[in-house]
Amino acid sequence: MAEVLRKVKPKAQPSEISRNLRAAYARAWVRVKATKKEPLWAIAEITIPLISVGAYVFLYRALNAPPSFASFVVIGGTVIAFWANVLWNMSAQFYWEKETGNLEMYFVAPISTMAVLLGMALGGIINTSTRALSILIIGSYVFQAPLHLSDPIAALIVFILTIISLYALGMLFASLFMLYGREAWHTANLLQEPVYFFSGFFFPITGNRFFPFAIQVAASLIPLTVGLDAIRRVLVLGAGLNQIPLHVLGLVAFVSVLLPLSKKGLDFMERLAKKEGRLTLRWQ
């Protein structure tokens, strides 16, 4: 055994960066691999949002709303897929990882837990993108929702910024919930509906008459709200980047605050866990 292990020794210890990149890649790979093995899940995750999208589209039609409302709703359904993924597969993830003993293995290994989080996010984005795209394409076709693709670059930039800021928020949640047990799961549950509501998944939030200004401001503290609004302006109202500078700035600000914050949160929680002996579930 040992002879063989010696033969297959790398020439040098892999560098810190290469270790962390490999770890992030491997963690993302686990996500993608797992989805491939459970194709039924993916189908459910496309169908269920499409059904709620359909419900709203018919509601707006009954109210004689303009056809652009259907487009709003389809885009909402597309981005919902990401939000659900952030909540369920980021925020509550460390709880499961703790239960299996994986969390300890991450901490024993010579990598930063940020790499693991990054991998989780990356895998989540890859998985969810295919689902979200299916929702967008099927939804806009079935519900005849008109979309502007006059400025695809703007659409792409806004979209990417939105996704990054969502997952950055997910990373922050994941680190904050690292020490929690099942509560993390409940919190995710708790956050799902109100955020759907306030971020305006199925109806526009900003610039409307229904929500008081204060709520509109508060809602835009959720990156989801800003991102969603920006995507809708580009894809439905045909806006270019120059027409939504505040949105873009806001999203960039979210990312540049959330990422370092989640690193800080992670370091803090890691230290606390090691101080209090709370890396495993055994003593909870």
Partner: protein
Amino acid sequence: MPELSIETVDLTRTFKGPSNTTVKALDRVNIRVNQGEIFGLLGPNGAGKTTLIKILTTLLLPTEGDAYVAGFHVVKQASELRSFINLVSGGETPGYGILTTRENLWFFSQLYGLPRSIANLRIKELMDKLQFAEYASTRMHKLSSGYKQRLNLARGFINDPKVLFLDEPTLGLDVLSAKNLRQFVKDWVRNDTEKTLLLTTHYMAEAEEMCDRVAIIDQGKIVALDTPESLKNKLERRRTVKLEVRGSSSKFGDLKQFSGVLGVSQSQDIQSEISTLKVLVEDESVISEVISRISQSGSKVISVSKTEPTLEDVYISLVGRGFEESEAQSTTQ
């Protein structure tokens, strides 16, 4: 002078216990383990074995004291240290159930940044040596617990660590698998002078068979530390007498009150209603008194035999009670 691989200096760890009590899981522990050594930590439930391992593997901070592994301080140089160690906890199965055995090992190899070609060679080698190559493409959640344990052990070798920590590696394994596993681990240390193994166990026989040196730990304190041989030699003048007793199910802990009786352990066979008492005596002359005492209590002594001292006897002489009893105590607490 062999190089030091593990060193602890007055290592102490306390936990908050129930209702504002504090539990001293480790109390000024000082151990020094050399490179090339298989070092055992032996002690009953709650003795502090896992706590010590967690501190040495950077998973837990000490409350006081210092510890070094492979030349690195476990707190101040934790991230440098981690490339050189690995940990296997028996009874746990880290990994992803939906991935196959091989995929899981590949995943863990990536946490150490192994290039693909090296990772694949190692995975193949480990699966062959630990005899689960036939399950390479089986999803982890379909494996029996024994095979999960092998996978878990293989994971511990994936980075070819310098210092390996095994926390009750054979927990729940059948006799044959446990034996194979012990042999595998022993070979790994013996074939490379730079390797060190620290293992915890409750199984006396396991410690005796595997370890170069053993530390006996009880309630957070090291109560003895030596080779299994010399620990036993210290008992040479003393004798362990094994008594089989039938009849009442009374406890014979009070036999310790006899001067000359150093310790007593008792285990009961539920089916035959026969209790086996192991009495550690300073001098054999006290045995007749012990026997008459047992008869007075209404039980019948059906056999008396002398035994070679084992590590369990060492434990009894140090702690005054047997392993099973300490465990019964700590579970009824």
